[in-house]
């Protein structure tokens, strides 16, 4: 008796899941969008973006015109800097900065080499376009390094000592110098493609996990087909679960495409940890977001409302996920908001598995974070659904 009941339950679930998949398959434009997002879009993001200071256009305003000033200027080299010409008047520099044609102007005042020769402190100015504060900061750090090194060499020459390979004729006379060797873990070459590629994959997963189930549900409401489902012998769960299962299947397929079709073969993203764990994590995450999507659908009446709600939820999730903004730098309230966003846990765990090779023993807090949100979401969704339709 019990098993017959079970079988009916399962066969209904199967039929409904198949219905959802068919509905997706029959929208070729939508399928093209899904394929694009999980392949070309990820490729573009991974190949397209770099955080390093690259080719910052530097303009020289040299009023000294000495060997020393040329020597200093010559040290601003690629890849960080790129010479964008010399100017003869201060206002030209301002103009180039205003027009965005230069990122920095190096200004060497007259008497620079004389001061150096006398042993006085000579100064040079640099104006940096800080309208992008991060790039501005990186440019300033690089420039101060270059100038400091130059200054140190001048001093070393005058006193006739070499400083740890820094000056003189390579004569590494000992000096109490601290060499700080930086070792960047998990991504030693600071390959931006790894970060960007994974981050884009996670964003695309997020987008579809929220949008597709919400749309699938709202569509039933808008067309009135939800009434037919409700008078059928299906329970609310049997209406919701197939939508979630179908979308999870599609998104997992897309994830596999993005990972094995683009990220691993093209960009050599190191899958350091267990793939099984990653897909288990993704299933958990996608189901959670699908639950949120269905919740949105129960709260809205039509696709337009649902679309706006999705934007309202997804934009903060992506921007405040902790990938762009260091959580440490966020105000406390925002950080709390971040902790209720499943994407925060998903990002940490995904990078943990894919790049750091972390296992479940390290990542269990992330899994439980998502699971906790999943439980709360599904309870709310079922309650809302019952209230609305029962």
């Amino acid at each position: 008796m019990n098993s017959l009941f079970d079988r009916i339950w399962w066969s209904r679930l199967q039929a409904m899941t198949w219905k959802e998949l068919l509905q997706l398959m029959r929208d070729p434009v939508l399928l093209v969008f899904v394929l694009y997002a999980f392949s070309a879009d990820i490729y573009n993001a991974a190949s397209g973006v770099s955080f390093q200071l690259n080719n910052a256009a530097l303009v020289l305003f040299d009023l000294d015109r000495s060997a020393a000033s040329r020597e200093l200027a010559g040290r601003f080299m690629s890849p960080e800097f790129r010479w964008a010409g010399a100017i003869t008047h201060a206002s030209q520099g301002q103009q180039l900065l205003d027009d965005g044609k230069a990122m920095a102007v190096l200004d060497i005042p007259p008497g620079f080499s004389d001061k150096l020769a006398r042993g006085d402190t000579a100064s040079v100015q640099m104006q940096i376009d800080a309208s992008n504060s991060v790039q501005g900061f990186l440019a300033a750090v690089d420039a101060s390094q270059i100038v400091a090194r130059y200054g140190l060499e001048q001093t070393a020459q005058r006193y006739g000592v070499g400083i740890g390979g820094v000056g003189g004729a390579g004569g590494a006379v000992d000096a109490p110098l601290i060499n700080n060797q930086t070792r960047v873990w998990f991504n030693p070459n600071q390959n931006d493609a790894w970060f960007m590629g994974i981050s884009e994959l996670l964003n695309v997963i997020t987008l579809f996990s929220l949008l597709l189930p919400a749309a699938a549900m709202v569509r039933e409401k808008e067309r009135g087909t939800i009434e037919q489902l409700l008078v059928s012998p299906l329970s609310p769960l049997q209406i919701m679960i197939p939508k979630i299962v179908a979308m999870v299947a599609v998104i997992l397929g897309g994830t596999a495409l993005g990972l094995f079709g683009i990220l691993v073969p093209v960009f050599a993203v190191p899958v350091a940890g267990s793939l099984l764990l990653f897909f288990a994590l993704t299933t958990l995450y996608v189901s959670t977001l699908a639950g949120i999507g269905i919740l949105i659908a129960t709260m809205t009446r039509n696709m337009a409302q649902a679309g706006m709600m999705v934007i309202l939820i997804i934009a903060p999730m992506m921007f405040l996920s902790g990938a762009w903004t260091p959580p440490e730098a966020m105000p406390t309230i925002m950080r709390l908001g971040m902790y209720v966003s499943p994407l925060y846990y998903y990002i940490n765990a995904s990078y943990g598995i894919l790049m750091k090779g972390a296992g479940f023993s390290v990542l269990w807090p992330m899994f439980s974070g998502i699971l906790l949100i999943a439980v709360m979401v599904s309870l709310t969704t079922i309650a809302c659904f019952k209230k609305q339709f029962a």
Partner: protein, 384 residues
Amino acid sequence: MNLRRISVVAYKEWREIVRDRLFFVLAFVVPSLLMLLFGYGLSLDVENIPLAIVDYDQSVSSRDYAHHFSDSRYFSFQGYAQREQDVEKLLVDNSLRAVIIIPPDFGTRLKSGQATTVQTWIDGTFPFRALTAKGYVTAINAAMNLDNLSAHFSALTGIGQETLRNSMQSVKLETRYLYNQEVKSIWSIAPKLIMVILMLSPPFLTALGVVREKESGAIYNVYSSTLSRGEYLIGKLLPYVGISIVNACALTAFALLLFGAPFKGDPLFFLLSTILYVICTTGIGLLVSVMVNTQVAAMVGTAIVTVVPAVLYSGMIIPIPSLSAIASVIAHALPGMYYAEIAMGSFLKGVGIAALWQDMLILALYAIALFTAGFLGFSKRPKN
């Protein structure tokens, strides 16, 4: 082109918006709420990086070196660790982002005037943070070296340490940050937020406008009416452009009053450009709506052409010059980049039409191109 017919379509669309209470409220609430969330939350300042120190030396000078990092506001000192093995796990589970390892002979080498090597480990998962952290480490280390070297040579030569210090910095770099003197990230973010949010919300307002009528069949009223394609599309767009202009004004007010971003440019020029930009972004939604046949596809398509590029290719977080060829093409193919130039110019740089007319012209051409594409893609005699 009949103005009266356009206004009739626009009025009908407007009535529909107003009658859909939740949608109407969301249309105004979503942009402002996003502005508040991003404005307060989206700090790109890298501070309080969790740091641990492994000090194998435990001497006065190693403590002193460690203090320079643990006292810095850029790092948040989590404590000393005994061995390297102890911290490796903490880097994996995100408890730490940086570790400094001081070798056992650190103090003795420095005292005897020899060079020594300290290691810094940085979690490179997020390259953007890793780069900044590396910059901080380098700067702090350089300052320490200056102190140590001047003290050392002063002892050797008998010249005063201060004099030596000065002469070691024989060249000083005076850095002036233009447009954003304090390198406040909110100043550089706020104007771009206007750009991003006007790329996120308005396309979704219009994305379903045409396709909804296709799905419900109401479009046949349009097919059989005397309305021309152009009249219909313009009428559809107008109410959403209106809503988005109101929203743009609200966003600008937030940027100025709440986030204190300075506005140095020409308000009229900025307003005109904003109107053009809003026509472009609402137009993107409308174009998608014309091209697809289901509302789901319209939403997904709009999300793909707006949400992802708004994050990546708008210059919001990653500067356009750092983009590769393909990404740069995508950036140039969307209106966000041009409007970002205008917003930055108007807010921080204080330049106007003389410097930015090209960007404005491109926005205008963009609007025309979108409209033409929509016009050509919309047929009053559909094949099926």
